[in-house]
């Protein structure tokens, strides 16, 4: 068998005219020319492999970077931020010497191609980001979006994704405490599988991805490197799906959660013994990413001997080894005299670990294969100085018509019977229905610190057994609102996640986001993106919650049809004592129900407009972030001082949805009275933001209402927790039994 000669640096310099497959690797002509200009010669095959993956949309953020800068520029003053954007994940001070790191990432494209492995490796990747910061992962959350619930392909994608998340996360011993499941036909060919992880550490244990100190060793540890996932980032995550192209299944990685569990334990043990100078996980772009990022963030250069990388397949070429996205691998920089100890810890956990190189004095990243130099680059040009595009963007010409198509003109229920019927239909609709069939496939209890898990408003984890210190996390996003108005839609996502954290009694501290959009090459999509980022950055500034990091997923479109712009926002909060947390479920009969906030006639993008009229038009609910902040302060104070026994945020589906959920979870009904100045329809189904319902023990009523009055927050008494029906006085009555059947029956009937 003949073999092409090794494409060394020397060979590349001597053969300037050799044509390289840059287009097949996803590079544009001008990008390739830029690489030639940087190197002063044509790249070697290995260099081209590295640049192509690192300059892909997924790794380089080349289309989004110019907009994402706002998160830094507009960042609010916050004492809580210990590590900001740019590292594997942001780190937040939560007090008592503890720091929390959290991040949300997408694994959208792989999960459509191969639902189980795509979703599983999404969990694996985000968990490694968290351990790379020095933290022990303590919880995961999974915001998911699928096509229509009754579409046959949803039955292929959803069960696979859910089983993949469960199969991987359950096996790692991470409680799954939150997330969302949303159905909309716009996600039919582009499901959104976002995965978030929260990790906890002491302040002094924060680790960063950098390689410093000449002579320090670079250790690759974890799974062997195989041929899976080659080009995952550049090909799968950075291009639009097209039926005409061959299947991309080989580009999806395969996960092994058992290996990852060992990786977590041995990494944490190495951290505990202070053996690690710098660390980076191997995710998208594999070794290309890890070596170039470690080297460019440190003070020196790096020399790697690629022959020393343990392989699963001995026939892999150096280019393939550099591009492989084999899972469950990490790269650590360790001082020479600590290498033995590090290797012994890996051996204890049966983890393969190999010294593959060292930090050098220079500023070059050099990679050798069979003794020959095949890469010689300035690592910064690979990792950080990729192309930056000022993509053209323009408000789409259909936006005005969409907004003019006001939901206010939709026919409303004409009688109490019709209203009752619509309410029952809404709570049974796939988006509003109970997701228990899905969430019970995830372990909520492992680690023994879960205070709240879905369907609570936010997940909550105790992080200190002695003091009761805890953290809460909520993720939210509404593509329908964002389609109607991207700026407002992004702020509504932020407001809802912020509110959800406060509803459970925790103080919101910081934000991570996962921005899911269509093709950046479409100016309309780029406008949606630009507006959403602007809205989110402005909103974070106003609420005082900095963005600590996140992820952008573009090209979520099939042919010409992009998904609804879907920024998913995660808000992290802290609670001094988890014993003060507020659950969603009604606790005791006789407690008084109060509606906090103002209710307006707002139906644009609402669940009602979708379920009853299959309509999307008009404007989304108005955002008032000052009101959100006030509402959050009231909810936190009320929880801390024991004034409320349950609370639930109002969002899609409106007030009746929240009451039904609280009633079913608590097994107690409610009698509701339509307040003066509102009609029953608007009272029950409007989706005005900045609202919550709370259940107040009678003994606390005066204290609670005095507090609301003094702070200027509208609090309207709307009923009482009572009986085994939900009764809207003068309108209708629904038994908990029929509500439960409607609410809990839908998802199993469609998917089980």
């Amino acid at each position: 068998m003949s073999r092409t000669p090794l494409d060394t640096v020397e060979h590349a310099a001597a053969t300037p005219d050799v044509e390289l497959p840059w287009a097949e690797l996803g590079l544009k002509k001008d990008e390739y020319e830029r690489i030639v200009e940087i190197l002063g010669r044509r790249p070697t095959g290995a260099e081209l492999a590295m640049y192509s993956v690192m300059w892909s949309e997924h790794c380089s953020y080349k289309s989004s970077k110019v907009h994402l800068r706002q998160f830094g520029e507009k960042a609010p003053e916050s004492d809580a931020l210990l590590v900001g954007i740019g590292e594997n994940a942001g780190v937040v001070d939560v007090g008592q010497g503890y720091a929390v790191t959290f991040k949300v990432e997408s694994h959208n494209h792989p999960s459509y191609v191969e639902p189980y492995q795509g979703a599983a490796t999404g969990v694996g990747g985000i968990v490694r980001d968290i351990i790379a910061m020095g933290a022990r992962p303590v919880a995961v959350v999974d915001p998911l979006r699928f096509g229509a619930a009754d579409h046959p392909d949803t039955k292929r994608v959803l069960p696979g994704v859910v089983a993949g998340i469960g199969g991987y996360g359950n096996c790692l011993g991470l409680p799954n405490i939150g997330g969302e499941v949303v159905f909309d036909p716009c996600y039919q060919g582009n499901p959104l599988v976002n995965a978030g992880c929260v990790g906890v550490m002491r302040h002094e244990d924060i680790h960063l991805a950098k390689a410093s100190g000449a002579g320090n060793k670079v250790i690759l540890y974890g799974a062997r490197t195989g041929g899976d996932g080659i080009g995952g980032a550049s090909i799968l995550a950075s291009e639009t799906f097209d039926d005409a192209k061959p299947s991309k299944r080989p580009a999806v990685q395969v996960g092994d959660p058992f290996q990852e569990k060992l990786l977590i334990e041995c990494t944490l043990e190495a951290f505990a013994e202070k053996l690690v100078v710098g660390i980076q996980d191997l995710g998208a772009a594999g070794l290309s990413c890890a070596t170039s990022e470690l080297a460019s963030n440190g003070s020196g250069g790096m020399r790697i001997t690629l022959d020393d990388v343990p392989l699963r397949d001995s026939t892999l070429s150096p280019e393939e080894i550099l591009m492989s996205e084999s899972q469950e691998r990490m790269c650590a920089v360790v001082e020479p005299d600590k290498v033995d100890r590090f290797l012994r810890i890996c051996e204890k956990w049966d983890v393969i670990a190999t010294v593959i190189g060292e930090v050098t004095d220079g500023d070059r990243l050099e990679i050798y294969w069979h003794g020959e130099k095949i890469v010689d680059v300035d690592p910064r040009t690979v990792a950080h100085e990729g192309p930056v595009y000022e993509r053209p963007y323009a408000r789409p010409d259909w936006q005005d018509a969409l907004q003019a198509d006001d939901a206010a003109k939709l026919p409303r229920p004409q009688s109490p019977e019709e209203l009752r019927e619509q309410v029952l239909k809404l709570v049974a609709s796939p988006n509003q229905a109970s997701k228990k069939w899905i969430t019970q496939q995830y372990d909520h209890f492992v680690q023994g610190n879960t205070v709240l898990a879905m369907p609570e408003d936010s997940g909550m984890i105790r992080i200190d057994e002695a003091t009761g210190l805890g953290v809460a996390i909520a993720t939210d996003g509404n593509g329908r609102y964002t389609k109607l108005d991207p700026y407002t839609g992004a702020q509504l996502a932020l407001a809802e996640a912020y509110r959800n954290v406060a509803t459970t009694g925790a103080k919101p501290l910081a934000v991570s986001d996962c921005l899911n959009f269509g093709s950046p090459e479409d100016p309309a999509v780029m406008w949606q993106f630009a507006e959403a980022v602007r809205g989110l950055a402005d909103g974070c500034r106003q609420l005082g919650t900095p963005v600590t990091g996140g992820n952008v997923s573009l090209y979520n479109q099939t042919g010409e049809a992009a998904i609804h712009p879907t920024p998913v926002v995660a808000v992290l909060g802290v609670i001094d004592d988890v014993a003060r947390r507020t659950p969603v479920a009604f606790q005791e009969e006789g407690q008084l129900l109060y509606l906090l906030g103002d209710t307006r006639e707002e139906f644009g993008g609402s669940a009602w407009s979708q379920v009853i009229h299959d309509h999307l038009g008009g404007l989304p609910p108005k955002v008032d972030l000052e009101r959100e902040r006030l509402l959050a302060e009231i909810l936190i104070s009320a929880s801390r001082d024991g004034m409320i026994d349950s609370a639930h945020d109002l969002s899609d589906g409106g007030l009746i949805q929240a009451v039904v959920e609280s009633a079913l979870l608590g097994g107690k009904g409610a009698r509701l009275i339509v307040p003066d100045g509102l009609d029953a329809f608007t009272f029950l189904l409007s989706e005005s933001a900045g609202r919550a319902i709370v259940a107040v023990p009678r003994s606390e009523e005066l204290r609670f209402t005095d507090m609301c009055n003094a702070r200027g927050l509208p609090a309207t008494r709307i009923g009482v927790v009572d009986g085994d029906t939900i009764e809207v006085q003068g309108q209708f009555q629904l038994t908990l039994e029929e509500l439960r059947e409607a609410h809990e029956g839908t998802i199993p009937a469609l998917l089980a």
Partner: protein, 226 residues
């Protein structure tokens, strides 16, 4: 004087720290045991905790059963050392033939995590003395391979000898024969069950119930008064 209760960590064990916490909350002293180490450190009892030992590859518990620590454990369990196997630990105990029967995949083919109602059928084992026979408890259940099966002869024998220690109530979550959630050996020192008592020991955490704590107070009482 308190009791020292060992908790074995296999590669892939998940609930080892949680089990140590439950032992501590019950007033006993948890002792970490390592799968590669034959030394049981002279503990008074051992808990095999939940998780996916060795990734559950081959079969749940099948590889863990051959680890060095199990050599000593099997020997001492036969001599009377109290051993509790929870979830993956139960699977390991059946693979090690310390308990009869085997666990198959759940009949619905999904992982299931929920609060589960059980009846304590046998309150005379080393791990159930603080319950009363017939008592109903609710503790978390979470597994993929929880369907208990055994041949008819074994089932009849277990039933006749009162060795079904726990039975599922209000819905069998996985297709286990005779609604069996947990069993004991003849001597009553080795007990295995699929649900997780160690996740029901604090009022604020998990489902907010402490119905699992008596497992750990039972063994403590037995060891201290013995």
């Amino acid at each position: 004087m308190t009791a020292r209760i060992g908790v074995v960590t296999f590669p892939g064990s998940l609930d080892d720290r949680d089990t140590q916490r439950a032992i501590r909350l019950a007033g006993a002293e948890p002792v970490a045991l390592w799968h590669k180490d034959k030394d049981l450190k002279q503990v008074d009892a051992v808990v095999l905790c939940g998780g996916f030992s060795y990734g559950d590859y081959l079969r749940a518990g099948a590889i863990a059963r051959f680890s060095p620590v199990m050599e000593s454990l099997i020997e001492q369990a036969k001599a009377g050392l109290p051993v509790l196997g929870i979830c993956n630990g139960f699977q390991i105990l059946t693979e090690a033939h310390l308990l009869p029967g085997a666990m198959l995949g759940n009949d619905h083919l999904h992982f299931i995590c929920r609060e589960q109602k059980l009846r304590v059928e046998n309150a005379d084992t080393a791990w159930t003395g603080d319950y009363t026979a017939g008592q109903e408890i609710r503790i978390p259940l979470k597994n993929m391979d929880g369907r208990y099966v055994a041949d008819r002869y074994t089932l009849d024998k277990l039933e006749a000898e009162g060795r079904v220690a726990f039975r599922y109530l209000d819905g069998n979550p996985n297709g286990s024969l005779n609604d069996i959630a947990g069993i004991t050996n003849e001597a009553g020192n080795v007990v295995g069950l699929m649900p997780h008592p160690e996740h029901a020991v604090e009022p604020l955490i998990g489902t907010g119930r402490t119905d699992g704590l008596p497992f750990f107070t039972s063994i403590l009482k037995k060891l201290v008064t013995a």
